[in-house]
């Protein structure tokens, strides 16, 4: 060790000296860009006329960057960047592997579509209260969660998107919103605190917070350290974030209260971050502990699926109905985590992408239905097929996609999950998946039958006028159908990406090698 008395110790041995290549900067861009644009929009919050254009342009750039990152990871493998040039585990690493990059790209698409939808649906009051800055800051938090390689940093990103989501959910301050937001805020705060408790214990055991470092050290410590406690705490904390039964009650209590575009964003993004964190912790860091918990996770998955969809069957308000469908979808993703083999986990990843797209599209469609029929209630909506056949076609497609019927994207993840559970001999899980699929067809099919097919005596001209005023919102939902059908008819690229992602989770050696390249070579 070269210590020079004059200039102090030689710090270069603790630093990364090679400059970061331009393409590797992509890994930080999905977090940095929304933070910068969010700050700019915050400064321009009184200029409500230019905000939507600027925000949609920012979201379009963000999506382009996300797609670039996905392409970069697809061709060149995981991308790592460590902050402050300190060698990991001392600097905080950002790691874009296939799982993170796929989810970031999907989240970018969802936020862009919601941004376009919001142009005509969020009025100047909503803009002045900061809808767009909150939206971009939430995207920074969501993307940061998907990309960070440090578990305490993951907690910080959770809090970033949580506080932005608080801002979005109370936007407008209606009575119902405040009621829903109170429950949402307190229960989510408790969930993230549980996450922090688990992380405190983890630090006490491992003395490190870098996920690659934890994955590397876990096998040595397994004999002596209470890793089972850690895995269980993470299951409870992230299960609550993902709205898994029996910790799902905050979701149906709050997701129907904010503006429809906010609900669409939440349904598309937030619960999936919980699923992502479960994949990272249980599957990558603590696989033996996960296999001990696997029986419990499978029963939680079955409970989440069935309770969710039975709740949906009992609702007359479309938004509340969709809230329960979101919960039911979480059950499918948990099923793959419970199975824990490559096939089941790939099903979880594909289902997560499918659910992000379809749940957002369904909420946005509910917004259009509200515009056309002036209600969210199945008791009042009727005759939309006659006023708007195109919307009826879109609705039918989305119902098929959510229920898992072709040509929608929902078919393939369900096929993968049923195959995986039969392959492992867990026939009761396969049965629950199929029954839930049938009940989803009933619950959403009834929305279609009642709102679109039932005869109505309302005046048609007024409805046609409504449609004229919301052309941008209409186009957003149509655009959303493109990837949904594309995945439905050509699923190979997504399934291939999911298999690469799952391979990275099950064999963390590549992940560890990406973060610690020097030691991997020795």
């Amino acid at each position: 060790m070269a210590i020079e008395q004059d200039s102090g110790p030689d710090l270069s041995i603790a630093m990364i000296l090679e400059p970061v290549s331009a393409a590797d900067w992509l890994v930080i861009a999905p977090v940095a860009l929304p933070l910068i644009f969010g700050a700019v929009l915050l400064m321009l919050r009184h200029r409500t006329a230019i905000q939507p254009g600027l925000a949609v342009a920012a979201l379009a750039i963000l999506f382009a960057v996300d797609a670039g990152l996905l392409a970069h990871v697809w061709t060149g493998g995981s991308v790592v960047m460590t902050m402050g040039r300190w060698l990991p585990p001392f600097g905080i690493s950002f790691v874009a592997d296939m799982l993170g990059a796929t989810l970031v790209a999907t989240a970018g698409l969802v936020s862009l579509i919601c941004g376009i939808f919001s142009i005509s649906t969020v009025n100047s009051v909503g803009r002045r209260y900061g809808f767009y800055p909150f939206l971009l800051l939430m995207m920074a938090g969501v993307n940061g969660s998907f990309l960070t390689g440090d578990i305490f940093n993951l907690y910080v990103w959770f809090e970033v998107f949580l506080i932005s989501s608080f801002g979005l959910i109370i936007l407008g301050s209606g009575q119902r919103q405040i009621d829903g937001a109170t429950k949402y805020a307190i229960l989510n705060l408790v969930a993230t605190t549980l996450f922090l408790i688990a992380t405190g214990y983890l630090y006490g055991i491992f003395g490190t917070l870098n996920m690659a470092d934890i994955a590397r050290k876990a096998p040595e410590l397994r004999g002596t350290a209470p890793l089972m406690t850690l895995a269980t705490l993470y299951l409870v904390a992230f299960g609550m974030k993902a709205a898994a039964f029996p910790l799902n009650f905050w979701l149906p209590a709050s997701y129907h209260t904010p503006r429809i575009v906010v609900a669409a964003l939440f349904a598309g993004l937030l619960t999936k971050v919980g699923i992502y964190a479960l994949l990272r912790t249980l599957v990558m860091l603590f696989p033996p502990e996960r296999s001990v918990l696997s029986g419990i996770i499978i029963w939680l998955a079955i409970g989440t699926m069935l309770i969710g969809i039975l709740g949906a069957l009992a609702q007359s308000d479309i938004r509340r109905l969709l809230g329960f469908v979101v919960v039911s979808g979480i059950g499918f993703m948990l099923a793959g985590i419970g199975l824990g083999d490559a096939a089941g986990l790939a099903g979880t990843v594909v289902y997560a992408v499918h659910s992000m797209l379809v749940m957002t599209a369904l909420y946005l469609l509910a917004g259009l239905m509200r515009r056309a029929g002036d209600s969210y209630s199945l008791n009042r909506l009727a005759g939309l097929y006659r006023t708007d056949p195109l919307m009826a076609a879109v609705a039918l497609l989305l119902v098929f996609a959510a229920a898992g019927l072709p040509p929608g994207s929902g078919l393939w993840p369900k096929v993968m999950l049923v195959q995986a559970s039969l392959g492992m001999g867990v026939w009761w899980l396969a049965l629950a998946i199929l029954i839930t699929g049938l009940l989803t067809t009933l619950a959403l099919g009834r929305v279609f039958v009642l709102a679109f097919w039932r005869a109505s005596d309302a005046v048609d001209e007024e409805m046609a006028q409504n449609r004229e005023t919301s052309r941008g919102a209409y186009a957003a939902v149509l655009v959303m159908c493109v990837p949904i059908v594309l995945i439905g008819v050509w699923p190979e690229p997504l399934i291939g990406a999911a298999q690469v992602a799952v391979d990275g989770l099950l064999n963390p050696a590549t992940y560890i090698g990406a973060v610690f390249p020097v030691e991997a070579m020795q």
Binding site: I178, D179, G180, Y203, P252, A314, D317
Partner: protein, 125 residues
């Protein structure tokens, strides 16, 4: 030292959980505040306790000359304090607004978003 602190953290958690189980929002909030502090103490204790040796490296040495206090948990706790403080401030305002709007701080009576007598979907068509 760590053992005593661990027991202390346990008492904090017990109090926080007891308050969180209440029906009244204001008690739930106090529970959340205590829960946040319990976690901060937990992280602090998890980093092992060392008294009166600040983690400062002399300018001519590459590593500290003796065992020092662990600076990382302090950085983590500082982050967690800032976050839990801002959340607590937000929740205070939110629940005060909820009390103004809904006229109650009893969670069992807060049924505006999920009415008890909500109508069922139509059975036929």
């Amino acid at each position: 030292m760590e053992t005593a602190f661990s027991a202390f953290v346990g008492v904090f958690f017990a109090v926080a959980v007891y308050l969180l189980l209440s029906k009244h929002i204001i008690r739930i909030l106090l529970g959340a505040a205590i829960l946040g502090n319990a976690v901060n103490l937990l992280i602090f204790t998890a980093g092992r306790l060392t008294r009166e040796v600040p983690p400062i490296i002399p300018s001519d040495l590459p590593i500290p000359a003796e065992m020092t206090a662990n600076p990382l948990p302090q950085a983590l706790v500082l982050t967690a304090i800032v976050i839990s403080f801002s959340f607590f401030a937000f929740l205070l305002v939110l629940t005060y607004r909820a009390y103004q709007e809904l006229g109650t701080d009893n969670t069992e009576e807060m049924r505006v978003a999920e009415p008890v007598d909500d109508d069922m979907p139509p059975v036929g068509y």
